[in-house]
């Protein structure tokens, strides 16, 4: 009897063992969990409670590639890109479109309504009817023009290739170079690892230049004297992320800075003293990997964001209280 029980027990044990082996061989799934997972989704989502703007409108462009965005005093919107310039009225209705010979990387409009286009290594000046007025070839063959700002008779050109800002008069004569490293005057020199190098003129008549490798804004007089700087490198919302940011900026009417970044695609507003104010757009509103979110502010103080991946101008406004 005892022997019988032992045999049955041994058989049951054997069956259980075989069942385990069969399960292990044929039904078990490999463990594909990643113990070293680096979760980036939370970084891309960000804190939505800081968002103070909503997207109210999208303007579709017919250009094949878009790189530059500007507005004029009347609130008209200008887009420049591959082989053309497109002009919209403030409501987003297409007004004019004309061809240019090449790809414009940036665009700005002066008080006379003339368009300054940065074409890789030279500058072209056009009127809004599509007539070319002049061409400046004085930046040099190594130039990579990424931004232009105009005030009165002064034209400032950001050159990411030679890591310098050129000051010209309206006739195209080069007056000076701004931002070359000079320890004697405290100018740190521009660090530009990728071709995103923006500048702008504030209401108080100072030249603000992004130093992307240092994650900072630098304030210069038109003569090239460094006055101040602000900026903090950080992945957090308050700082500028990645190797080199912000990629673009613009001024709101109350001298606030609107900035855009690559790597973590986000648009934010900073106070004039450089302290963080609020978020305009979070990374989940853009395609991952979007670069070159050029910015402009129109007559109604709306923030316009150029989305080169979706080929859109996206309009952001603060909800009316």
């Amino acid at each position: 009897m005892k022997q019988k029980i032992m045999i049955i027990s041994a058989l049951v044990l054997l069956l259980v063992l075989v069942a385990f082996m069969v399960n292990d061989f044929f039904f078990s799934k490999p463990d594909n969990t990643n113990p070293y997972e680096f979760e980036l989704e939370s970084v891309r989502t960000g804190d939505t409670t800081m968002t103070a703007y909503t997207e109210t409108r999208q303007i579709k462009t017919t250009l094949e590639e878009i790189h530059g965005l500007a507005t004029d005093a009347l609130g008209r919107i200008y887009i420049a890109g591959k082989d053309g310039v497109e002009i919209f009225d403030p409501s987003g209705k297409a007004e004019n479109k004309f061809k240019i010979g090449g790809t414009a990387q940036c665009i700005t409009v002066d008080e006379n309504g003339n368009l300054f286009l940065g074409m890789q290594e030279h500058i072209e000046i056009w009127n809004d009817s599509g007539k070319q007025l002049s061409e400046w070839n004085t930046c040099g063959a190594d130039a990579v023009i990424t931004s232009i700002a105009v005030l009165g008779d002064d034209v400032f050109v950001a050159d990411a290739g030679q890591k310098v800002v050129f000051r010209y008069d309206k006739k195209g004569n080069q007056i000076s170079k701004i931002g070359l490293k000079d320890p004697a005057t405290g100018v740190p020199g521009f660090i530009i690892p990728s071709p995103y190098f923006d500048l702008g003129i504030s209401k108080d008549g100072n030249l603000w230049i992004v130093n992307p490798g240092r994650h900072s804004f630098e304030k210069y007089t038109f003569n090239g004297t460094l006055l101040s700087s602000w900026g903090k490198a950080s992945m957090a919302m308050e700082g500028f992320c990645g190797c080199c940011n912000p990629s673009n900026f613009a001024f709101l009417h109350d001298s606030l800075f609107v900035t855009s970044e690559k790597a973590i695609e986000r648009v934010k507003v900073y106070n004039p003293d450089g302290s963080f104010r609020c978020v305009v757009a979070t990374p989940d509103q853009f395609e991952e990997g979007t670069k070159g979110l050029d910015l402009a502010v129109d007559k109604q103080n709306r923030i316009l964001v150029l989305d080169p991946v979706k080929l859109l101008i996206r309009v952001f406004e603060q909800p009316k209280k």
């Binding site: 070293y36 190797c243 080199c244």
Partner: protein, 215 residues
Amino acid sequence: MQNRRDFLNKLCRGTILTGLAATTGILVFRSAKSGHCEIGSSCGNCLKSDSCTLTAAVLFRQTVWQLDPTKCIQCGRCAKNCVMTPSAVKVVHVYAMCGYCDLCGGYLKPDTKTISTAAENQLCPTSALKRKFVEDPFYQYTIDEALCIGCAKCVKGCDAFGNGSLQLQVRHDRCKNCNECSIARDCPSDAYSRVPANKPYLLQGIESSSDKNNT
């Protein structure tokens, strides 16, 4: 008798001489005809020919495992699935692409409060990525291969926030070159393939990976 022996002697010598002349002629003709042997051989065989036993040709025919960084999705399986411990897959730094950034997405955790070498700020679980100050504001990043486990966390960080200069590669001083690579078998993006042993690296972003191939 003498004449017959002379005759046979001359016949043998003549045959050998003719044979030698014919062989030389054939070799010269084939060499002139092919004219593009990649390893300087005058035999006319191309490198892929199984009959060629020159070292360069043998190396050309041999293949090793390598992963294509453009296909890699940083899933972490290179660290887990390799038969070697730690894995034979390591991070390789393509310095030509590196921005030498202070805020390095491959070195620092995204939620880092301060930029420093403190262990709690480092993304690498084994501190295999080393940071060294070069000049303001540049830092050089090097990999301690003995510590690297091939988890690709830094690769993902560098891809997301930087230039993508950190890339995973099978290091052939460690790889056992198994017939069936256990990582390749489970690679979800089919990034693994066999490549010629004389060009064993597939680094991206540089004109040629000859520097790496020579190491």
